[in-house]
């Protein structure tokens, strides 16, 4: 008797592809839709897990396209504090697809710049990127001017990127009740003050995330017709949920929605790929070996496995080196300094501030 499975390759069978394989030998993405060329402009954005991608790309001599570098007169330690080098531009962590879509809309003048600044003490903070810069701005005018410049650089980034790597992090978010825009984190946790009359909770559904991601892809392809996308889902569970019930269950819902949207979108477009970072870390087959003792944060060995697979999948294997013994190629002094900063950048996660115990 013949059936459709009998001629499928080994990767289609759990026993051959998973249980009979050492975990490090599993080929998670045997047929990527595309590879990344040596001179392509890589742009990264997403949740704090996305920061690890940046770190490992650089450690392997594949720097991202930095559309918003620090000004050369800024000393390197200050550049780091000001939020330079974490991603391709200074947008900080982008946890939701809606947040990324709104950034794109502002950068390309499809909507006005969203202004939500708060003054605390002598400094002013931008609630759309509360950690950029860490110590805030000297005035509201400085914050406004800085973000206007930032959006201009984001526009260049969107228009110039060859491959956009976006790590989807959360479905739970907080929005401005009156104007509808989305915050990266709930006001009052990192910066600002929570006001139930101004701030409203939302847990984006599959349909909403799918709609937002589709809108982003289509709009971005209008300004940059050749751009490709690699989507990943952050394996890091929610630090806190505003939904009723247990945070683990809420986290499962959130990741499931994001994972399902990525799968659906990747089926629709030949220039969109899904990279299974989430599965490498979170699958039961990994036996939890990559989780820290809090069962949430990912160990360095886990990140290394993810990035090793990422490099094997998308880059020439001959250029792949482990992060621990990578040598950064000689670059002009400023870029070398910038790279040096970013090798030491720990993924910064404002979402932590949702948990009062972790704030102190």
């Amino acid at each position: 008797m013949h059936h459709p499975y009998e001629k499928l390759p080994a990767t289609h069978f759990w026993r051959k592809a998973v249980s009979d394989q050492p975990w490090s030998g599993v080929d998670f993405l045997p047929n990527p839709k595309f590879t990344i060329g040596a001179n392509e402009r890589l742009v990264t954005a997403g949740s704090c897990f996305a920061g690890n991608i940046v770190r490992y790309l650089r450690a392997n001599g594949r720097d991202i396209f930095v559309a918003e570098p620090a000004h050369p007169v800024i000393p390197l330690p200050l550049a780091k504090e000001l939020g330079y080098g974490q991603f391709s531009a200074r947008y900080g962590n982008i946890y939701t697809t809606r947040q990324l879509l709104e950034l794109f809309e502002q950068a390309t003048a499809r909507r006005d710049m969203i202004e939500d600044f708060v003054t605390e003490g002598d400094n002013c903070y931008d609630l759309l990127r509360p950690g950029v810069p860490a110590s805030g701005f000297s005035s509201v005018a400085e914050a406004q001017a800085d973000r206007a410049y930032h959006l201009g650089r984001c526009r260049i980034m969107f228009e110039s990127a060859d491959t956009f790597i976006f790590t989807l992090g959360l479905t739970e978010a907080w929005r401005n009740r009156e104007l509808g825009y989305t915050y990266p984190v709930c006001p009052g946790t990192v910066r600002g003050r929570y006001d139930e009359n101004q701030h409203v909770f939302i847990n984006y559904t599959f349909a909403e995330v799918h709609q937002d991601l589709t809108a982003l892809i289509q709009a971005l392809r209008q300004v940059n017709p050749h751009i490709k996308f690699i989507f990943t889902v952050s394996p890091v569970p929610l630090v806190a949920s505003h939904e009723a019930g247990n945070v683990l269950v809420a986290s499962s819902y959130s990741k499931s929605v994001l994972r399902a949207v990525c799968g659906e979108i990747a089926r629709q477009y030949d220039f969109v790929d899904y990279f299974p970072a989430y599965e490498i870390i979170s699958s039961v087959a990994s036996r939890g070996q990559y989780l820290e003792s809090d069962l949430r944060n990912v160990k360095e060995t886990g990140i290394e496995h993810v990035m090793s697979c990422f490099f094997s999948t998308y880059f020439s294997r001959t250029t792949h080196a482990s992060a621990s013994n990578a040598v950064v190629a000689s670059e002009p002094s400023w870029q070398a300094g910038q790279a040096s900063i970013n090798r030491s950048v720990e993924a910064q996660c404002e979402e932590l501030y949702n948990d009062p115990l972790l704030r102190s």
């Binding site: 000004h71 050369p72 200050l78 110590s135 005035s139 509201v140 400085e142 410049y149």
Partner: protein
Amino acid sequence: MGAFGGQTVTHSGILTNPAWNFNQLHYSLLSVDVINFPVETDPLTQRRRAKPPPAIASQLISIRNRAALDGNHNIVFCCVRGSELVGLSLWNPPPLFDFVIPSRQDLGVEKGRQILPYSFIQSAIEPTLADTMSIYMGLRAAMPHTRLVHIFPPPPIADGRFVVEKLNRMDAEFQKVCARDGINSALLRLKYHYLYMDTLTTQLAALDISCLAPPPQAIDDEGYLLQEYWLDYTHANAAYGWLVLSQLEMAVSSSAH
């Protein structure tokens, strides 16, 4: 520094004018240009300070002694440096940048320029003021009871082409830098001027030293030096000096009442 009484005051060293007499009060005009002063680092504070050559130091002692003997030296107007910020305000390292002074947000920013933090710009100019402050600390120590007034330099000239034409007074290396990168826009130079005045006003207040702003008659609506007072990129002309002298007279007169 600006020009006074028909004579541009750009001397190296100290010019102590025979005291003018306005309304029975005496004051001195003190001009200190320490461009050629050697600089040393204070081992305690690690701040740079000017180390006056012996000839200048002896003149400072002379002033101190005269001030101590002559009770009529009610006010000493000081033209201490002033050009130290010129280099920084002209320097235009690419890419184009701008900054916002919290107290002068009305000035706005030039579109498309990278925004440097105000705190960074402020920290960048403080070392350039260290020499000025060390001189004032010395003056204050020499004349603890005398009213000291710092005279601010004239505001910038809006016309960048005029400024570039006069750059031959600058250090040759700096001229090369300016030729390569261009000079800052007028707005940015104006911001540096305001920042210089704000910062020095605050620092000098701690020494109980007040400041005299440029004469309003010499400034246009946007804050730049009117063309009729131009001399070069940092000095105003003699007509400007006469306006400042009028300011000094008014300050002395008001002091008398």
